[in-house]
């Protein structure tokens, strides 16, 4: 004897509707989390100062196996060094093929600041401090430590998420300086020492075309990116579920999402700042 239950009316339509509603609710939940995090930042700095300072130290130096290879500072420096060296490798040779290799110093001053350093820094940040935050928060969520925090009366969003966002912004200031320095030095070393261009030629074009305004905008791009990257990563850590595998998956999903969001953000800020005219004069 089988008692089949009659299917509900409009089953398939209802299924599509429910799926749409779920994804819509997820976007809403995400937006609310970000608003809460941003609203909680003053509280995070004033009330949870110890945790905030601890996070700054931890993010700068990294933890576990990452601290062994030199921490976030060394990783960011290494990544921008390799991409800065591309200016020498690709730029010098490509310019030499059309007879303009003297302009490699200009390429370093122009492309490093506007394109290479923001792009590489965004990737490096989401891999190091971002993914680290997701892994920590995800493990806390799985072990029900976040619920425990709420029970003993600590505001978990302010204590865990907002502190991380502010700490990320503080840490990115020295990191950006290291990133730019490494990119410039790698480009100069590759061009003058390895490919043998006169350092006077290189320095002349580099100094002529290095614009401090561009550097400041590039720095603000990096700070804006850090805020977004840290918010995305803390959100995915906060909402991790599904045991050990869930934490790993959350880290992966957070890295993909934050890389895409950060790259869109770089383009938007670049288009807004440099605009149609380009804010650039060949005359210097």
């Amino acid at each position: 004897m089988s008692t089949g239950t009659p299917s509900r009316p409009l089953g398939r339509l209802r299924h599509v509707g429910e799926e749409f509603a779920t994804s819509w609710n997820r976007i809403g939940g995400q937006a609310r989390f970000y608003a809460e995090t941003l609203a909680a930042t003053p509280e995070a700095v004033t009330r949870y100062r110890t945790e905030f300072l601890r996070l700054i130290a931890q993010m700068g130096l990294g933890s576990g196996a990452l601290a062994v290879v030199g921490g976030t500072v060394a990783i960011v420096g290494f990544l921008t060094m390799t991409t800065g060296a591309l200016v020498a490798v690709q730029g010098y040779n490509q310019l030499a093929s059309v007879g303009f290799e003297a302009l490699t110093g200009f390429a370093s001053a122009f492309f490093n600041v506007r394109l290479i350093v923001p792009g590489t820094t965004s990737v490096a940040l989401s891999a190091t401090i971002g993914a680290g935050a997701t892994a920590q928060l995800g493990a806390m969520r799985i072990n029900e430590e976040i619920d425990a925090l709420e029970v003993i009366g600590i505001r978990s969003v302010a204590y865990l998420a907002a502190t991380r966002v502010v700490a990320g912004v503080v840490v990115v200031i020295p990191l950006y300086c290291i990133a730019v320095m490494m990119a410039f030095l790698a480009a100069r070393f590759g061009t003058t020492v390895i490919y043998g261009q006169g350092s006077g030629v290189y320095d002349h074009y580099f100094d002529t075309f290095l614009s401090p305004t561009d550097l400041i905008w590039s720095f603000f791009q990096c700070v804006a990116m850090t805020v977004v990257i840290m918010m995305v990563h803390t959100y995915y850590g906060f909402t991790a579920s599904g045991g050990p595998a869930g934490v790993g998956e959350a880290v992966g999903r957070a890295v993909r999402t934050s890389m895409v969001v950060a790259s869109v953000e770089i383009v938007m800020i670049s288009l807004a700042v440099y605009g149609q005219t380009g804010n650039f004069n060949l005359a210097g």
Partner: protein, 270 residues
């Protein structure tokens, strides 16, 4: 045991500190040992075809959408920055040349790196790490199945296959994005853009670019599998392993990129 207690504790502490000090060295050694095992077992029957197909599909599924979403902004940013320069020279007709040089030689391989390690390798490491934590790999060994042959070899090959296929897709999409941006937003003539594409970029550049992508896939697959197989410490351990996978793959792949670019450019630029 009481009378030797202190010396045992002191000895333990020394062994512990020696273990901490040699940790990176042993990790590198373990990684190369596993890579060697993988290369040897790659040619040994039976090959895990089923796992290979499933993994290729899995890596492709998690990578394709982020790859396309990441290529568009980066190639638009590249042509935008490049066109500022070309506008100043009055040579905006060559924007296709700049787009081709940047996209084929750098944006294509680098976006493939980011996606293969950020999307593919993380998912792979999380999956393998979860299996290791639940002792499933030990269970395989008990049944006489070598987990390297059954799980690692197909995953490494899957990552390599997908990276190769992905880099081609990324280059096409990047060039299409650059075309749209230049022609419809910056009013470059479409014919000039297309004819400029092959001015400096030729067959050699495409070969170098695809070689890079293959190496990236191989390295990312090996690192992800190593981190996944040798994970410890519960849920936090898996999260940290995935984090370390991302960082180490980025570092290795960016280094490979510079080296292969420097070697390849000797052959492609005359």
């Amino acid at each position: 045991m009481a009378f030797v207690g202190t010396s045992v504790v002191a000895g333990d502490a020394m062994v512990m500190s020696a273990q901490t000090a040699t940790l990176p060295v042993r990790a590198v050694g373990g990684f190369f040992a596993m890579s060697l095992d993988t290369f040897v077992l790659m040619f040994k029957r039976p090959f895990a075809w089923r796992e290979y197909v499933i993994q290729t599909w899995f890596v492709a599924r998690v990578s394709v959408v982020p790859a396309l979403m990441l290529t568009m902004p980066y190639s638009v940013l590249l042509v935008f920055t490049f066109n500022i320069l070309l506008n100043e020279f009055g040579a905006v007709d060559f924007s296709g040349t700049g787009a081709a040089v940047g996209t084929v030689n750098q944006i294509g391989p680098i976006v493939t790196v980011l996606v293969v390690s950020g999307a593919g390798a993380t998912a792979m490491c999380a999956d393998l790490g979860a299996r290791t934590i639940r002792d499933e790999l030990d269970a395989l060994r008990v049944m006489g199945i070598n987990p390297i042959q059954a799980l690692v070899v197909p995953r490494v090959l899957a990552a390599t296959t997908v990276a190769l296929a992905l880099s081609a897709t990324v280059i096409i999409v990047g060039l299409a994005g650059a075309f749209m941006f230049c022609v419809f937003i910056q009013n470059v003539s479409p014919g000039a853009f297309i004819s400029g594409l092959t001015l400096l970029t030729g067959f050699g550049d495409v070969v170098v670019s695809l070689t890079k992508a293959t190496l990236f896939g191989l390295a990312a697959g090996l690192i992800a599998c190593y981190k996944g197989v040798y994970v410890d410490g519960g849920p936090a351990g898996v999260g940290n392993a995935v984090n370390e996978t991302v960082v180490f793959t980025f570092m290795v792949l960016f280094a490979i990129n510079v080296i292969v670019t420097a070697v390849g450019i000797q052959f492609t630029v005359s």
